[in-house]
């Protein structure tokens, strides 16, 4: 099965001075699969996401990506234009703070349409129709298409960011705490939406979260990180219901029961 992975990493190491961010990290992601990376803050989750997506270089180790034609490419050895093209088309990145990704001075339609235009779409009507279709997919009213993002609520901004990312039908999406900073009812709705979209379009995702409930709901597999080391990995239910490593046991037992 390992020759069918979408993304594979072997032996990733990265230290910030004396602080270990990644220590011999291996990771595999299969097409259509959601992998959650959990752990406390400072455990190297976001660093792993940045290294896997080629936005940050590791000190040693490799990341391979298998493209639509089945060719395998080393993400960190790829020329800059190819990597940027990948980030514009096959890949997507959902940030914790949607304002980092959205253009706040550009209408919702323009935000969703940007990736299409970057890929060469040159038909205004088609771009607009596609933008409206995607706003509906993320449950934003079609008549908000000409509104600026600053008139949107926090949850709507996050959904707009998701529409903007998914409009080019990426195969792989990196998500960094997509539900962070939202109130609980908005979180639940957003999680439900992400789960639906990921399943419907068969998107593979690497999801960074400190919230085990998010991992439980969205992920097929979980990686638990502590001080840059992957201490436990496995199927979500297996890891969360029967944690083996003391740190995972601590994480699972420290979740507040309502």
């Amino acid at each position: 099965m390992s020759d069918e992975t979408l993304l594979s990493a072997r032996g990733l190491n990265l230290h910030f001075g004396t602080i270990p961010a990644l220590v011999n990290v291996d990771a595999d992601l299969w097409p259509g699969e959601v992998l959650a990376v959990v752990g406390e803050s400072g455990s190297g989750k976001t660093t792993l996401l940045n290294v896997l997506s080629g936005r940050m270089a590791a000190q040693s180790g490799v990341v391979w990506y298998r493209d639509t034609a089945g060719r395998i490419a080393d993400v960190h050895a790829m020329p800059q234009p190819s990597l940027r093209a990948l980030h514009r088309s096959d890949w997507g990145f959902v940030q914790q703070n949607p304002r980092d990704n959205l253009r706040m001075g550009v209408t919702a339609g323009g935000n969703v349409g940007e990736r299409l235009m970057a890929q060469g779409s040159r038909h205004y009507g088609d771009i607009r129709a596609e933008a409206i279709r995607w706003l509906e997919q993320v449950e934003i009213d079609a008549d908000r298409v000409d509104d600026l993002p600053r008139t949107f609520s926090g949850g709507m901004l996050q959904r707009l960011q998701i529409a903007r990312t998914l409009v080019t039908h990426p195969r792989l999406v990196f998500m960094d705490e997509p539900t962070g900073g939202l109130d609980v009812s908005v979180q639940a709705r957003l999680l439900d939406l992400i789960r639906g979209l990921v399943a419907r379009f068969g998107i593979a995702a690497v999801l960074v979260t400190h919230d085990l409930a998010v991992a439980r709901l969205l992920a097929h597999r979980v990686m638990v990180m502590q001080r840059g080391v992957v201490v436990e990995t496995g199927l979500t239910d297996q890891v969360l219901d029967d944690p083996q490593h003391p740190y995972t046991q601590l994480l699972v037992s420290s979740v507040l029961q309502a």
Binding site: R84, T107, G110, A118, Q119, G125, R128, D146
Partner: protein, 285 residues
């Protein structure tokens, strides 16, 4: 004139500018940095254009300088006199007789030919400057030909106004590769740049950039398939010469709403009148 080198700049400076010009011509639409000098006129008056003109000017050239199409505005008159005094070259207001035309904000109405060079004065050479403030980032976007952002701007215009609201400095693609600011010429003039037989040179003095379009190069104004690029002009005939095909200036003539529309290209207007055309406000020759 004694005390000055020919055409004011020293020979080393002219060679430096010519090297930048050669590079610019070799890569149509690409902005080449150059060591812009202090010139005896303020930034915004054409310090870039005047340096490019000085570098390409020869003793046998005939110079024409226009500002907003007119030969008789302050800027045009002073630059023309500057070169008449420092280089002793012949000057003219006739587009057809000039070998070098330095311009601000217009391309002459009359078609240019192969033996001419047109030098544009450019305030802002970077077409993406208003969308992306980082020079490092825009350089990278040019390098990788990532121009989706410019279309986002056009998309926003159509969404807000129903059409692209840019009426001057309308961005163009040069030779299917580089996005270029055509300097603040009206969008009306954009089609003249496409496959122009004359060499087009652009100088931005304050921004220290030179770029160029070689003769017979493809220049396309950006647009959408369903919102094609269109030129606009005031729906009037020239009040002096009656021309209906030229770009017009609106001149306020009194405080009771009086308006006069005249050709912005003064040479075009005079040529038209010389052969007997008279507009509604004009006097027969």
């Amino acid at each position: 004139m004694t005390g000055y080198n020919f055409a004011y700049l020293d020979e080393q400076t002219k060679r430096m500018i010519r090297r930048a010009l050669l590079k610019a011509v070799a890569i149509p639409g690409h902005q080449v940095p150059f060591g812009s000098r202090e010139m005896p006129l303020p930034y915004g008056w054409g310090t870039g254009g005047i340096q490019v003109t000085a570098a390409v000017l020869g003793p046998n050239d005939t110079l024409k300088v226009i500002d907003q199409g007119a030969d008789d505005t302050t800027n045009a008159v002073s630059i023309r006199r500057f070169f008449a005094r420092t280089a002793g070259v012949a000057t003219t207001t006739r587009t057809a007789e000039a070998t070098i035309i330095q311009t601000r904000h217009r391309i002459p109405e009359q078609k240019l030919h192969e033996n001419q060079i047109i030098v544009y004065q450019v305030p802002q050479p970077e077409p993406l400057s208003r969308l992306e403030s980082s020079r490092i980032e825009t350089t990278r976007m040019h390098g990788l030909a990532e121009y989706g952002l410019m279309h986002v701007k056009l998309y926003e215009d159509i969404t807000r106004f129903g059409h692209v609201s840019l009426s001057y400095d309308y961005p163009v693609m040069v030779n299917d590769r580089y996005l270029m600011a055509p300097s603040p010429i009206p969008a009306f003039d954009n089609p003249k740049m496409d496959m122009m037989p004359a060499l087009q040179l652009f100088g931005a003095g304050r921004e220290k950039r030179i770029y160029a379009i070689p003769p017979y190069t493809k220049v396309v104004s950006l647009d959408f398939d369903d919102h094609p690029f269109r030129t606009t002009r005031a729906p009037h005939a020239c009040g002096l010469c009656g021309a209906t095909d030229s770009y017009l200036d609106e001149v306020v003539t009194d405080d009771r709403g009086g308006r006069l529309f005249v050709c912005s290209d003064t040479d075009h207007c005079e040529t038209h009148r010389d052969v007997g055309h008279v507009g509604s406000e004009g006097v027969a020759a």
